[in-house]
């Protein structure tokens, strides 16, 4: 199967477009999250999404309408993580762990109470990038545009709180609001993109491209752009490779992301020696 033939399939075009858009916004958010030591928040919120989808299905909200339950629950939990770190003096990773384990425990209990909807529930957990519909591509476009617009609008504030939150406060920045914005955008991304690409890929796209870009880039804007580029390369390359080799797409994208990260670490060492 050659590249032109692969590209001629509608499902491939949709997978590449939606996957690339999600890769861009995950990479951009990931840079802020990794530097703020909240990189596992994507994983944590994905577990909460599992619980919230179980709740939605139990309340008879099926398919897309599950989002009406899932979105507010996950957004509230993302703010909960933030409040735990601020008020209860719990570190970021511990706060994510607390909310994440609670989310998955509630999900498992609700799934057991609900009985017959486990297949629906697990489709949220693992997603399938090759099964993305036209409506879901549109959703990815709207999501990507919204998140990137907000990040552009609050760019200086986001960089300031990422550098040092106290210094940002003394600069008159309402740090609580900007931190809330960051975790809410992450929650929105996780809930909407998880159905498309699955829990494993969301986490990988938030952490790996940004971590690779942080090895190489000089300057914050350059880091964001490089992370987005590396994320897109991994999605496109991984999708093609998975179709050609007939292996799972999400896992292939994660592996390619990891290889890029490895190369970036190696490149950093080379640059340091020069």
């Amino acid at each position: 199967m050659d590249i032109a033939e692969i590209l001629s399939y509608g499902f491939m075009q949709r997978a590449l477009l939606a996957g690339s858009l999600i890769a861009v916004l995950c990479a951009v958010l990931g840079c802020f999250l990794v530097l703020r030591r909240l990189s596992l928040i994507g994983d944590g919120l994905a577990h909460v999404t599992f619980g919230s989808v179980a709740l939605a299905l139990l309340l008879k909200f099926y398919a897309a309408s599950a989002l009406f339950v899932s979105l507010p629950v996950v957004m509230l939990c993302s703010l909960g993580i933030l409040k735990l770190t601020e008020r209860a003096r719990v570190t970021g990773d511990a706060a994510i762990g607390i909310v994440s384990s609670l989310g998955i425990a509630i999900g498992v209990i609700l799934a057991s109470l609900g009985g017959g909807f486990t297949a629906d529930l697990f489709s949220y957990l693992f997603g399938n990038i090759l099964a993305i519909s036209r409506a879901e591509v549109l959703l990815a476009v709207v999501l990507c545009a919204t998140v990137l617009l907000l990040v552009t609008f609050f760019y200086h504030e986001l960089v300031a709180i990422t550098f040092n939150e106290e210094l940002a406060r003394i600069s008159g920045i309402r740090t609580g609001r900007i931190s809330s914005l960051l975790v809410l955008l992450t929650a929105l991304t996780v809930v909407l993109a998880m159905k498309l690409v699955g829990i494993m890929l969301i986490s990988a796209l938030l952490i790996l491209p940004s971590s690779a870009a942080l090895q190489l880039a000089r300057g914050f804007r350059t880091t964001l752009l490089l992370a987005a580029l590396l994320g897109v390369i991994a999605v496109i390359g991984g999708t093609f490779a998975s179709v050609m080799l007939n292996i799972p797409t999400g896992a292939t994208i994660v592996l390619l992301n990891f290889m890029i990260f490895g190369l970036a670490c190696f490149g950093k060492r080379l640059l340091a020696q020069e």
Partner: protein, 249 residues
Amino acid sequence: MPPVIDVKGLYCRYGATHVLSDITFRVEDGDYVGIVGPNGSGKSTLVRALLGLSSRDEGEIGLFGVPLSEFEDWQQIGYLPQHFNLFTSNFPATVTEVVRLGLLSGKRFPRRISRADTARIDDILEYMGVQDLRRRRIGQLSGGQQQRVLLARAMVNQPRLLILDEPTAALDPETRDRFYSLLAEVNRERNTTILLVTHDSATIGSCASKLLYLDKRLVFYGTFREFCVSSAMTNHFGELAQHQICRLH
């Protein structure tokens, strides 16, 4: 002209432990005040309370004649916190980007950086002698270079008050002396009021116009000369220690 800092009857505590009790002092325009005292004496707590970063239990704090709770003119204040853990070592911002963050306090949303701002960044980098580092990542610089960049960040808005919390703790003696000279120059040439927290009572004595000695309460506040003849300090240090500190100058 109202005092730059006006503190009256300040009490702070963490849980049940009193960290600061009954602190009252004023800092006037152009003063260079060294805040000294042993570990755990409340120096950093005082600075953080002045900036509204930690809560106070009792007392009043005024900045430029405005109560702290109503103070919004943050561009008048440059702050350099303790360097340890200030930012993650892989933070990708360049020196220029870090200094640019210092301009945000003078701007309202949406905060945009103009060409005039860029010129101000260039000027302050040159003044600090770090213009050649502008494209380097902040995490790649040595401790002394980072400290100069962070001071440039604190000063880029030309603040009237500069607050520094143990800025020389991680520096070697030579770099530390150069840093103190730079601060003295800023105080002299720009009439910037400086509040500097340090462990080093002897060195700061030669730079600062006033010393504030804390030990959970205000033990002494006055000039270095007054410090050397203060009976409060003699009682606190003992005559020999006081003599040894003052003999250096």
